[in-house]
Amino acid sequence: MIDAKRRILLKGSLAAGAVGVAVGAGLLAPRAVLAAWPEAAFHATDIKAGLKALIGVEAGEAGGDITIKAPDIAENGAVVPVTVESTATGVKTIVIVAEGNQTPLIASFNLGEDAVPSVSTRIKMAKTANIQALVQTADKTYTATKEVKVTIGGCGG
């Protein structure tokens, strides 16, 4: 009986230890990275909470002339090519969200003054879901979505 409790206690402390190591590993990263990388946003499982942490708003409004280029059907969810473009002026940030993923926020692009609002990358998608693109200017946040059907999920294992 006592032994069994000991096992449970050990297991508990081991799990806590693993979390501690993970945090420690993060802390070992260069300070500049830590300062800039919005950990809370990218670890959020709720889209609204994640966006709030990342760009200060929970959702965008329609508009902004956003174009999302992505396949209608992705055979391999591990590699889904996505291009987000906007013709809005003064775009500062572009955010890509895969609504069906465990941690839905994929990427945030901060545009310099010379940048054209057009970015392409490849993302992982766990299942068939909407890709949400948000475009933020100085005072507005716009959003658009596009559904991608995923045949084989990219976050499994």
Binding site: A29, F42, Q102, A107, V119
Partner: protein, 104 residues
Amino acid sequence: MAGNIKIRAKAEGGETSVKALMTHPMETGLRKDKKTGEIVPAHFITEVTCKWKDKVVLTALWSGGVSQNPYLAYKFKGGQAGDPVELTWVDNKGGTETATDKIA
């Protein structure tokens, strides 16, 4: 761990488009190893900084949701043939790599 970065920059019609392909496992930290059943530790690029002549054009903040061996393409206004463009990534383990190219 670190491979190499392929980067190509091309100026056309007053805009420069840059395409880059990085080599990185991009582990989310959520995936389990099929053989051992243990979680594969997170190892992904968190930040990519893209410069044109020492001026930052684009900063990408990424999660593990970007595919393995990430591809990034972006555009900026201006840019002459021969101008240097630079791309640097940093990952969650503090690893980093930089590549440069001249605009064609």
